[in-house]
């Protein structure tokens, strides 16, 4: 059988694996939903969370399709489709593929089609190098959760602060990242301000949403505040980039 990076069999193989991963998500969704109902949680509340999560996901998911399109030029469609539907990212897959191709005396993006040996080697490196989380979570999650519960029993207030601190710590890192190119302004390059202004637009949209919820007492607005702010922030990047570039 002649190999091609877009061979129909590769689509079938990737499709089967993605179907299993999809089944895992459905399984956990049903399990959590049933648990919520059993606990007496309002069905409407659960639905609101589900709808909001779905709406929020659309823009980042489109960005993932763009990554699939970019990677598909060298690797075909099935492998990027598989890798970006499971744990993976454009930057990681590009690095893994480039490192492997260079080790085989080739380079990614050279325009030469991959043969089956190169393809299998690249896929193996991609799979092995990012497998840690998938097996480590089953090993440590229960113990870590027990630790959290013990901490909560010992000191409820500190457990709440601990949880909030973790979220704040993560957000602080990304807020810092937004400013990483800002020093370029001192050399006359204003593009470093683009992410900062986009962040401010998005934050402003979120504040306005909060204000609208209070003024009109329309709680439903808060369900869509994050996805709408995200999309408006992203949209603002187009004129801001044109202005500052």
């Amino acid at each position: 059988m002649t190999f091609s990076v877009n061979h129909p069999i590769l689509f079938v193989l990737a499709g089967i694996i993605i179907a299993v991963v999809l089944a895992q998500s459905v399984f956990f969704l049903v399990m959590a939903w049933r648990r919520g109902i059993k606990m007496g949680m309002d069905k409407k509340k659960l639905k609101r969370v589900a709808i909001s999560a779905a709406v929020f996901t659309i823009a980042p998911a489109i960005a993932i399709i763009i990554s699939v399109a970019t990677l598909s030029k060298d690797l075909g469609i099935p492998l990027p489709w598989l890798r970006l539907s499971v744990v993976g990212s454009q930057s990681y897959e590009t690095i893994a593929a480039s490192n492997t191709m260079e080790a085989m005396g080739n380079s990614l993006g050279s325009g030469v089609a991959l043969n089956a040996t190169q393809y299998v080697t690249v896929a193996l490196v991609m799979t092995i190098s990012i497998m840690v989380g998938i097996w480590l979570v089953p090993v440590v999650a229960k113990k870590m959760q027990s630790g959290m519960i013990t901490m909560e029993k010992r000191d409820k207030k500190w457990a709440d602060i601990f949880s909030a601190s973790m979220f704040v710590g993560m957000i602080a890192a990304f807020l810092g990242f937004v400013f990483c190119d800002v020093s370029s302004v001192f050399s006359g390059d204003m593009t470093g301000l683009i992410p900062v202004l986009v962040m401010l637009v998005s934050a402003l949209c979120m504040c306005l949403s909060g204000l609208l919820v209070k003024v009109f007492k329309a709680r439903w607005i808060s369900d869509y505040a994050l996805p709408v702010s995200l999309v408006l922030g992203m949209a603002s990047a187009i004129p801001i980039t044109a202005w500052l570039s």
Partner: protein
């Protein structure tokens, strides 16, 4: 009913539920791990191709150590934030910091519940599961329509919008969480601003490494403030 709702995940049916989450999570994750390996193996068998051992060895050497280290640190950092069900799912479906975790955070914020509560575990799992399903389906749609969609997806006009997803996302999320936790937010934000502005090597490629640094720093500062009675 309310008593049950308020109970800790460590008691009553909550414990049974959590045991079930861990049992099924282990089964699913280990199964997914095996089938992910099955892809290159199956391709090799079908097309009668063995991996290039030199390429495999050197490729792994250049790629795996960094991503294994990051993976270990990320696992310990994100599990307490994602909850049990959310962790099993997120570490299979990926895009944790830019999609799954913000989704869970938003769900908890909307419902006004804490992540370490019984309700929080349920809601974050639902949010992450729905997000994973929607992402998978949108990618399937994108793959099916990739050829007709390619001119639109690769339209240079849209490039800046998709290049700025993280600032747009964390601007919106940040304003909510920082305003609610401003006392514990000041020190880590100041530290991260100083580090990211002053060290050129810190950029989009290294922000993932800085998340655990920032989380540990925030925990230390919060602990000190808590002990001094400032929180």
């Amino acid at each position: 009913m309310n008593n049950e709702m308020n109970c800790s995940i460590a008691t009553g049916t909550g414990e049974n539920y959590m045991n079930s989450v861990h049992r099924w999570g282990r089964i699913w994750n280990l199964s997914v791990m095996i089938i992910l390996f099955a892809f290159p193996v199956a391709v090799g068998l079908i097309f009668r191709a063995l991996p290039d051992l030199k390429g495999l060895g050197l490729g792994l050497l250049a790629t795996a150590p960094m991503y294994w280290a990051v993976g270990i640190v990320e696992t310990f950092t994100y599990i307490p934030m994602l909850g049990a069900g959310g962790s099993y799912l997120s570490f299979v479906t990926g895009n944790i910091s830019n999609l799954k975790l913000p989704c869970a955070l938003n769900a908890l914020d909307q419902a006004g519940v804490k992540g370490n509560s019984d309700e929080g575990e349920v809601l974050s799992t639902i949010a992450i599961a729905v997000s994973s399903i929607v992402t998978t389906l949108i990618i399937v749609l994108g793959v099916v329509l990739l050829i007709p969609l390619r001119p639109l997806l690769e339209n240079p006009v849209l490039d800046p919008a998709f290049a700025q997803i993280l600032p747009a996302l964390f601007g919106a999320l940040g304003v909510v969480f920082v305003s609610r936790n401003w006392k514990i937010s000041i020190a880590p934000i100041v530290l991260m601003l100083i580090l990211f502005i002053s060290i050129p090597a810190l950029n989009s490629g290294t922000v993932g490494i800085m998340v655990p640094v920032s989380v540990i720093f925030t925990l230390i500062v919060s602990r000190i403030m808590y002990k001094k009675g400032w929180l």
